[in-house]
Symmetry: C2
Subunit: 299 residues, 2 copies
């Protein structure tokens, strides 16, 4: 038996050192079913926004590690009720849905009118980067940090969040530090060319379909919806921590530095399912859904 | 003057042979404004479908050069009124909207129950390939053929259509030749891993926002919408040629083998607009919108 185990260990070591790596033949459903409770996390209520629309609630996880100034600002604006009653007045099909004070010049109170850009940040061992392990045309390397699709340039010591669908970011004028209150959510194919040109400060983790269903504006990149035409309205934007526990949406998100998420990346790349005739041996950073599930109800 | 012209010609030749190429600093709007009438085409009415939904008309251009069997079949089904009254009963947010006979087993009449796969085809000089000129993780080379985002493998002599948003394709079971009547439209980030695994036979050229606004099904890849829950319904699916001229939607599409489209690719890659702080020097094949405009009205 000892010899047999030893042979297996050597075989495993040999396979692990060789290329290509051993393929995980499990499907995404099988990987999730086998995931451990500790691989899931609940977003911090103080870094979670609830955007209530007529159709239901959009849950946005904020990214204070990447955009602390923008996160502080959006929370302050939410706590002023700044966004309550504002419309998504610019919705470009296949691109972004945008809301803010642009149209009516709503007052930001004691807040500065603008916020300095946070396009990228320094690498930090406290924020582990899970590499996608597949090439990317827009960045030296792509992967995931703290639940967000991200990119890094190890040589320059920098990392940043990337524009996948569900990214929530601050619009601006030509001046990089000109963002104020105009927020947008990516609702189409990932506009990755915007990476490092705008500050992503959050990500929709539930309710994206409500944003996808918003009335659109006119064709082209203007996307403005004429006054009087149907628009989606933000009924309320609140910080989750400010709501009583029984009014919160209890979610769990698979940790992007967990073994199960690493296995999911491999499953999306290799497509072990019988359905696939051609296996691409590739996946792009926006092509791996980050699993979200209702939190188990307390007993 | 002669010398001066000659110098210019030599200079131009030298620049054309060198790398990187001369950058076109025009914006997409400027490029389109300068485009010539001959660079635009009108889709053939006999290869165009009108899908009427409650919110308006979706226009689909068919791809007989890539999927002749599927195109013949969908036209025959449309002419039977097969899709009239069928629901988009499976709508997966960020992925696909699907309709077909799956649910109620509607009869296909004299048509065979299934159609043989058309995942790829041979290269053909009559179908010029406009290269994107940027690397791609899923294919040896990507670009555009006859108005469709596509890929090719020159060594193997093959090309195929790729899954960008707006792609219209035939669903199937695990068996490649099992497609029948279940059609789907890509409504999310490009699921390129489906390339060469399913038959793309058309592309939405107008009305994509109507499909984006369809009611969604349950979370996850099932996306099924329970009977009784709100669903989008196909009121009518018709071949444009079967409608009188005054009921047709007159569109023009920029030719993907035109100089203006090649310039648009460069503009999307280089982002000459002042707005951009970081210029990615990259674009992906689904990141170049193929311009569509109303056809000039006849005098």
């Amino acid at each position: 038996m000892r010899l047999r185990y030893q042979a297996l260990i050597l075989l495993a070591a040999g396979l692990m050192a060789s290329s290509p790596p051993v393929l995980d033949q499990r499907s995404p459903a099988e990987i999730l079913a086998a995931s451990g409770a500790a691989e899931w996390r609940s977003p911090a209520p103080d870094d979670t926004l609830y955007m209530d629309l007529a159709g239901g609630r959009v849950v946005i996880e904020l990214a204070p590690d990447f955009a602390p100034r923008h996160v502080a600002r959006i929370k302050a604006l939410a706590r002023q009720g700044f966004y309550d009653g504002l419309d998504f007045y610019r919705v470009v099909d296949g691109f972004v849905a945008q809301a803010g004070a642009g149209e009516e010049g709503r007052d930001t109170g004691e807040l500065e009118p603008t916020v300095a850009a946070e396009f990228e940040r320094a690498l930090d061992p406290a924020l582990p980067f899970t590499p996608l392990g597949a090439p990317d045309g827009y960045a030296a390397e792509v992967g995931y940090v703290a639940g967000f699709p991200a990119a890094r340039d190890a040589a320059a010591g920098r990392m940043w969040l990337v524009h996948c669908p569900q990214a929530v970011a601050m619009a601006r004028d030509n001046e990089p530090d000109s963002g104020g209150t105009e927020i947008y959510v990516v609702i189409g194919h990932a506009p990755r060319y915007l990476d490092r040109n705008l500050t992503i400060f959050g990500r929709v983790v539930a309710g994206q379909e409500l944003l996808q269903r918003l009335p659109r504006g006119e064709a082209g990149l203007s996307g403005m919806i004429a006054a009087g035409a149907p628009r989606g309205t933000i009924l309320r934007l609140r910080v989750a921590a400010d709501l009583p526990a029984n009014e919160r949406t209890a979610l769990e998100i698979l940790r992007t530095d967990s073994p199960s998420f690493v296995a999911l990346i491999a499953a999306r790349r290799n497509r072990p399912e019988e359905f696939f005739v051609y296996r691409p041996d590739h996946i792009d950073v926006c092509g791996v859904p980050i699993p979200v599930r209702p939190a188990p109800t307390s007993p």
